[in-house]
Symmetry: C2
Subunit: 222 residues, 2 copies
DNA sequence: GCCCCTGTTAACTATCCGGTTAGTTAACCC
DNA sequence: GGGTTAACTAACCGGATAGTTAACAGGGGC
């Protein structure tokens, strides 16, 4: 009885990937259990070892897909010919959109960060570096156009990616915290978050100097 | 040879806490192994169950300490009577200093976030909420003094905490990435990071406006 | 019919790992 | 000394869990 047992070569593999992404995002690599992934995908556990060689192989495949897709979405921006601040805006918005489209991405990324990239293979690390490379090109465009001051790309990246990741990955926790501290409004819209991130980045980038208010003097870096 | 076997009631417990913090930060709750923690602390495994009831109990104790200390360090700022922007600056700097003083804190926090706070007990969650409460008071001070526009505290928080967490927790990964992409300078100083975060926060806060949809215009500031 | 290939399954194994337990040691108390 | 307690150890246990295997279904090519 039971299962329709239909012919289904693709579905099994895809269902495994989807189930595993959810499991890995929610529990991390070590917290994720292969039996649970198989159950979630309604697939025999052995299929994991048939389609991917191991738990680690399955995980790596997910990471590879995720980063490759995000990097691909970002890639065309710097060469688009748009104004630099529009490019930056698109960079942030695209990143935020990817996080919505692939809801497991933020948590997995954060975890992989904390893990020191223990599970990352070379190509995935390159894709990750690609995100930074795109941003670096946008900043170079802006500087060339006289619109941006010069800024450390990595610093700009963490001020963009940090808030977005934190916002996206903290959704479940925020729901729980909201119970305890009902006064706090912990659920701004995604648009509000991206707008704020864009505003903050542009404010610092277009305002040469870097630190207004109490000018602790500019960066005297050699 | 062998252990001096001296009378040492405190050390054992403390060594366990230190070893466990390192292990939990590097591997996460599920990735951390009690045997490894015990070995790292050079202590018999059973002592974990003697001093803390369980692996989870040990973990909770670490979380409690960490958040309580950070919240305590932040606590006095809003009532200090300093100018609001100085308060905000101190908020960021204190947070960054805590991350240096307790190097395992960022990774653990990030992981707990991604985990949806599964291991957090009520008091720890309150301490976490306390961080937001402090910031909310600082922003209220700034608004009262006419220095800050009104801003969503949670949005401000993620733009501060996000970059700091990402920077601190990504240190190991950055070291590895640096090998592959040697051109990129991935190691700004902690001061540069805090300065940038402060600048970005103040820029947005002192510039009322917040973030209308089309602020493509530059900021013709002071 | 027969072979072979891909996809699939149920049952099995080996190992790892959190937790327990019975016992030891040393200090402190009277 | 006898009794009590905190701190500690070595050895063990059982369940969870990643990974394996042998058998099988069905389809397409010949």
């Amino acid at each position: 009885m039971a299962a329709p047992r239909a012919r289904a070569p693709e579905p099994t593999r895809d269902r495994l990937l989807a189930a595993a992404a959810a499991e890995f995002a929610a529990r991390g690599f070590d917290g994720a259990k292969v039996d649970r992934i198989a159950a979630r995908a309604r697939v025999n556990k052995a299929m994991i070892y048939y389609h991917f060689a191991s738990k680690a192989g399955l995980y790596r495949e997910i990471l590879r897909d995720l980063f490759a897709e995000v990097a691909a979405a970002l890639e065309p921006i710097p060469a688009s010919g748009e104004a630099p601040d529009v490019q930056l805006r698109r960079f942030v918005e695209t990143l935020a959109a990817e996080a919505i489209a692939r809801p497991h991405f933020p948590a997995i990324w954060m975890r992989e960060m904390a893990e020191g990239g223990r599970h990352l293979d070379g190509s995935t690390m390159l894709a990750m570096g690609g995100v930074l490379a795109v941003l670096r090109r946008i900043l170079a465009n802006g500087r060339a156009a006289g619109r941006f001051g010069d800024a450390h790309p990595f610093l700009v990246q963490i001020t963009i990616v940090g808030p977005l990741l934190l916002f996206a990955a903290s959704a479940p926790l925020r729901r729980r915290l909201g119970h305890l501290v009902p006064s706090a409004d912990l659920n701004p819209s995604r648009e509000a978050v991206t707008a704020r991130v864009i505003a903050a980045s542009l404010a610092v980038l277009t305002d040469r100097a870097g630190a207004p208010a109490r000018p602790a003097r500019r960066r005297t870096r050699p």
